[in-house]
């Protein structure tokens, strides 16, 4: 969940239409039209990527009159399916995958199960990847892949390029080669496997007396 309380605002006088903002927006909410950047206010998630990278300092973040709460309802999807998808992606459903918005794997899984087909759609629906913009692309790509989805990066965009290696995929010869240099690959696999299989906390077990 994310509370979106900011909105990107373009100073048309300063904008030179370079398209940097378009290339870095994680939800594709800003586009250059007629050589000026235009913001889709409904779509903007207030991450400030455009404001932080505009080479002409033509964008400012302004406070929204009415903040938007961005959230996918986890309860609207069968939790068994959510769990199955998360664990296939080697994530615990309650594991936080976006530190800025505290978005958990289960919410991203719910978004995918409800039809999100790309990181941009996941970010638009959940708010994940609209805080620091940096750290949460991989678990989102892993969850999409686990759902059998192969998204294409936005054409000419810099939003993302591809999924990268996980610890479970490190070649054995690499592990052997660096075994004495402090890289604890196998030990980390054991730790992460325990996290993946740990029970969730937020859901009550069915009441035995009701059966």
């Amino acid at each position: 969940m994310k509370v979106v309380n900011l909105l990107a605002a373009v100073d048309a006088e300063k904008c030179r239409g370079c398209k940097t903002c378009e290339k870095v927006c994680p939800v594709l909410a800003i586009k250059v039209e007629n050589r000026k950047a235009v913001v889709d206010a409904e779509r903007c998630r207030g991450c400030a990527a455009c404001e932080q990278r505009c080479p002409d300092y033509a964008i400012t973040m302004v406070k929204r009159e009415q903040p938007i709460v961005v959230k996918v309802d986890v309860d609207a999807v069968d939790y068994g399916q959510i769990e199955e998808l998360c664990r296939r992606a080697r994530l615990n459903p309650e594991q936080i995958i976006c530190y800025c918005t505290a978005t958990r794997a289960e919410e991203v899984a719910a978004a995918i199960l409800q039809g999100a087909r790309s990181p941009e759609e996941v970010s638009f629906l959940t708010g994940a990847r609209t805080g620091c913009k940096v750290e949460c692309i991989q678990p989102i790509l892993r969850l999409l892949e686990a759902a059998g989805i192969k998204p294409e990066p936005p054409k000419d965009g810099w939003q993302w390029y591809g999924r990268t290696v996980t610890v479970w995929e490190i070649p054995e010869e690499v592990k052997r080669k660096y075994a004495t240099r402090g890289f604890y690959f196998d030990e980390d696999i054991k730790l992460l496997d325990r996290v993946v299989s740990a029970p969730v906390q937020g859901r009550r077990e069915p009441d035995a007396s009701s059966h």
């Binding site: 309380n5 805080g131 991989q138 610890v167 030990e187």
Partner: protein, 473 residues
Amino acid sequence: MRPPIKPIPPRQSQYGIDPALVKTRVCELPGMTSVLLKELFPDLPEVIYPGEGGVAAVRKATEEALQKIDMSKIKPEHSVNILASHHGFTLLGGEPYAEMLKTIKDVIETRTGCKDIRLRAGVGLRFRETEEYIKRYGLDQYFNGKAIGVAPIDQGIPIETEIGTLYGIRKIYDADWIVHAHNSDVREVHFHRQVDRAVKPFGMSYARIETRSTYHQNLGPRAANFTARAIFDSPFVQKKFAFASFLTVAPNGIIGVDADSDLYALNDRVTQIGCLYYGKMMTLFGEIDECIAALDFPCPVVYVFSAGVIYANFAGANTDLYDLDLPLPAYTWYTEAFYGKAGRPLLADIPPVNPAIKMCVHNYAWTGYPSAFFSEHIPTVVVGQEQADLFNRDPQNLTYMKHAVVAETTEAAMEFAYKVTGTRKVIIFDGAMGGINVSEPMAELLLKKAPAVSERVENELLPKWLRQRGVDR
């Protein structure tokens, strides 16, 4: 008791409040004192900065260190990117790092005749931060307009490694040669665990989001820094790598400059400094039984400094951050990620945030790093509504103030902390150079505990830490 050391001043930045709003520093309050780090650990090395020679000592040390570097492969018609990282600019005020960067440029130019020398300065999560430092230290003029800040969402370049494709920032690598300019400050040892510290920026400051996300989400807390080694070892990077130049840093200041065209040889030397000297400070911090932690430094919450140690590491000082047999410290993003919806860790053996920190007084610290985990787990008082408002506007900290309260003044915040916690032990993260600003009871505790800590680190912990990393003493 010694008077407090003058702290690093507030700094004008879009990530912090106006320095004029910081009316009182915590060290100025009654009962505060300082302890010189040499009083705690007499074996700490002599420093070249801070010192009487000022940053000129850094220039001299850089010139001497670079004498042994073979620069013959750099031809006059070539281009060179000097690669920098934002953390260097917050170290001891930033001037020594800026001076090393300027000196590297001058030496390359003089020795090789090369004129196309650029500065590429990477950032963390504050994408304009190195742009601010470039202006502040006149680096844009010094590099003839060829100094830029680069961010992890800038255009990328795929790099083929022995663990598959990873991604760097294109502008980092758009020259014939790259020079890795960094420092040995251990900074966030909770993340890299002092494993390949000297290599880390290749997976962080010089890397795209995909690579950084690999580090923080895909590999695990002790394998994470292999992403940096994989990139550095790639044929693509190796064919561009010229040499590395590092400010060598101990908790009490800059002890010299080390340069090498073999980064792993430099890395081993850096590991020894990191484990021995910083290891002692962190182990000593782990001996603190109860305290109020005061943040008062121009950096995000996690990165505020005391005795060369950042607040995030103090929040994990109840664990041995160097011991790789321990899977998770009390704080990393991995640890943070593993707290479930009920607010408890998903695994019972995940350590709690340092229980010695009874309260945090946030007198002055920046936005631009997700920090709500700290205010959620440590009772936090923020001084001034302006800072609260700033955090509420930061997309990375929308819930920081949900867990914190606001006090009007520094004095009121500290009085509140004293009353609620019942302790008078205060440790101030204000970047004081050469020493540490604390309250008198805290000074007494640190001076009492330091000798035994020193002996324990040298005889028991250091041999284990170095053995785990394959580094001989």
